[in-house]
Amino acid sequence: MPLIENGRIGEDAWSFIPDGEPVPNDRPVIISFERWQAERDGFEGRNAKLGVRLKSGTLAGAIAADLDRFALVAVEFAKFRDGRGFSTARELRERYGYTGEIRAVGHVIPDQYLYLVRTGFTSVEAPEGTNPESWANALTEVTIAFQPSLDDTAPLSLLRRKLKVG
């Protein structure tokens, strides 16, 4: 599936390994949160990067204690209308200080891309056949924000201001 990063289709270095399949040791992989819970000891001493995939109902707090083990957290959107993931990402960044990659997976649409970026996501797994132009536009068509968010570390001095685009 195409990976969207910085408004463009990018290379995906990661692969998701479904539960039950052997986990390769020589390349970055994403495993499910459930597998992590069940087999965490098995990942002791692993050198290649590890990522974890949270179902939409699994909130940031569930993985908070283990965040230093993961270079990537994939947050699932069961339906694009289910916006819990926006809070999950924001909590990962603001509350738990996570600095690795946060990836949106599942059902998201280009019209949500700016919201994703502003709540701390770094990449999005888009559906096959998606229109890349719509993703690129999504980051530039609205350049104003009315509230602080992840893209902005200054204190809330003014409600209205321009977003730094790009």
Partner: protein, 563 residues
């Protein structure tokens, strides 16, 4: 863009470059979204939340477009534009709603980008008037004018408007989210039936702060908002709301649309646990990032500086003369005019409820007239109320008679604010795709039955509120008399409730008995009124108080006696 600045003296928020650019960008964005939908790139399922976020519903006959009137306040210029749009793209009228907004009923999807573009010319839009986001914040329609005002709710409603606009985290909430603010002693904003209701107050140092009521709402399971925190200081205002929304976004139910509102979360978690979650989140958010800077508040407040009132004596000879000469005017004055904080001025309610008329509907010609009158008599500014009327908030007492004559000629002079003719009715089955029964014809029949202004005065304060289905857009739960349309095997029936109260003493009405037909409903309302008049202790006792004293029995007996 062909930008027309609203009247400089109007007490409304004036857009700056950034606000304007934002709205222009959103219009363009929607234009492309419509193109993507028409080309098939977006499915209907994907497009629906996008169009809803821009106020566009699909209704029975066409699309419906809901225009945001932030906290119900607008300028004459803006109203004139609404009239022009109604003529050009709709059928020459609009419907003012209980959410202090305006709806058009006959809109074409393909026209919508052009309409939004025209709205942007007068700093208006339809953003977040629908969808599972934070909706238009509502407030007291007498804001900035009422004698009993303690805090100007517009300032905080505007801060919330900005803060919630395209909020990246809270635009795909479990369900819609409605906030109301009241800054006066009497609550004219029905705060406790909102997801978050804010009572703005002052402490003994004169600083503004807020009581937070959470989890109110009507619909299938009505709840009265519960007090979550008595005092939130101004600087924590945004942080506290952010905390509430984050708890809601994470824990609110998404498995069942009927259980997705925050009222159900508060109910299921219990007030204590809910409050604890919010307080925990709040404690963490309380840092500098979310602190509401007094400078911002001051900056916004300047937009709402009082208009240049003249120094007038409070007593108006002209008014007294007109009152003595014209009894119909005297009646309107008693019923539709409220006290203003500036001497010599008054607050006038323009009733959109002529006897036998459609509650909340106004023709484009009427809108133009009201815009003219607002310019002439009220510093070019007007308000929409949550009972579907309009308000000119700053009218010189000397000019009230002129104002009323012009209104009366145009069918806008009904003297029924707060009386039995001042009925709220949702669009019901005549327009709404979700309806079970019609609401408007019943409102028309009742207001025609009680058309006599003297009879209405004799009955006194009595709110009738009608909804065409359990979603309760017509607030029937909190009507002194509430009427809910139901469908019984293809026939419209109406269920009557009594004892609801939308003010701070919020109460949900009780069902009086089995549902009745439309004709029976009109007779039943008359019977209820008769029983009330027969039982009340003197002119002073309001319907709800008599009801409390004598209970349901005498009312039930009269209505259902024949069965």
């Amino acid at each position: 863009m062909n930008h027309i600045a609203p009247g400089a003296r109007a007490g409304i928020y004036h857009y700056d470059e950034i606000d304007r650019q934002f709205v222009a960008e959103r219009v363009e964005q929607f234009r492309r979204q419509v193109e993507r939908r028409l080309s098939g790139e977006l499915t209907e399922e994907e497009f629906k939340p996008v169009r809803l976020m821009n106020g566009l519903y699909l209704q029975l006959h066409a699309y419906m477009l809901r225009i945001a009137v932030p906290y119900g306040v607008m300028s004459a210029t803006q109203l004139r534009k609404l009239a022009a749009i109604g003529r050009k793209y709709d059928r020459g009228y609009g419907h003012f709603t209980t959410r202090q907004n305006l709806q058009y009923n006959w809109i074409k999807l393909e026209d919508t980008p052009a309409i939004l573009h025209e709205l942007a010319e007068v700093d208006m839009h339809a953003l977040q008037t629908s969808g599972n986001c934070v909706r238009n914040v509502t407030t007291d329609p007498f804001v900035g004018a009422a004698k009993d005002e303690v805090v100007d709710g517009r300032v905080y409603a505007e801060i919330l408007r900005q803060w919630t606009t395209m909020h990246p985290e809270f635009t795909y909430l479990p369900r819609k989210f409605k906030i109301a603010i009241s800054g006066a002693e009497s609550d004219r904003a029905a705060v406790r039936i909102h997801d978050v209701g804010l009572l703005a107050r002052r402490n003994d140092k004169g600083e503004a702060g807020f009581s937070f009521y959470v989890g109110g709402g009507l619909g299938r399971s009505p709840f009265v908002g519960k007090l979550v925190r008595e005092w939130v200081a101004q600087e924590d205002f945004v942080a506290y709301l952010e905390a509430i929304l984050r708890v809601y976004n994470q824990y609110g139910r998404r498995d069942n649309i009927y259980k997705a509102r925050i009222k159900i979360l508060v109910h299921e978690l219990g007030l204590e646990k809910f409050t604890q979650e919010v307080e925990e989140e709040f404690a963490r958010l309380r840092g500098p990032k979310y602190r509401l800077d007094p400078e911002i508040v001051e900056g916004v407040r300047q937009h709402f500086a009082p208009p240049p009132f003249e120094e007038l004596p409070d007593h108006s000879e002209a008014l007294e003369r007109a009152k003595a000469a014209d009894p119909a005017f005297a009646n309107w004055l008693e019923v539709n005019v409220a006290e203003h904080k500036a001497p010599g001025y008054a607050i006038a309610t323009i009733s959109l409820k002529p006897a036998g008329g459609i509650p909340g509907d106004a023709t484009c010609d009427q809108m133009d007239l009201v815009a003219d009158l607002a310019e002439r008599h009220s510093f070019g500014e007007l308000r929409v109320t949550h009972v579907q009327n309009l308000v000119l908030a700053h009218v010189k007492k000397d000019e009230l008679y002129d104002l009323w004559k012009r209104l009366d000629e145009a069918g806008l002079g009904s003297a029924n604010a707060g009386l039995i003719g001042d009925i709220i009715a949702c669009p019901g089955l005549d327009y709404c795709a979700l309806a079970n029964a019609r609401a408007i014809p019943l409102a028309q029949a009742i207001s025609a039955r009680f058309a006599d202004p003297i009879r209405q005065r004799t009955i006194g304060e009595l709110g009738i509120k009608i909804s065409g289905c359990i979603n309760a857009c017509g607030h029937h739960h909190v009507g002194a008399i509430g009427i809910l349309g139901v469908d019984k095997k293809g026939t419209e029936y109406y269920q009557i409730t009594v004892g609801g109260d939308p003010t701070l003493t919020t109460a949900i009405g009780d069902i009086l008995g089995p549902a009745v037909t439309e004709t029976e409903a009109v007779d039943a309302i008359e019977a209820i009124v008769d029983v009330y008049l027969a039982n009340r202790t003197g002119e002073g006792e309001r319907f709800v108080d008599t009801l409390k004293r004598v209970g349901h029995a005498p009312f039930k007996e009269r209505i259902y006696a024949a069965d």
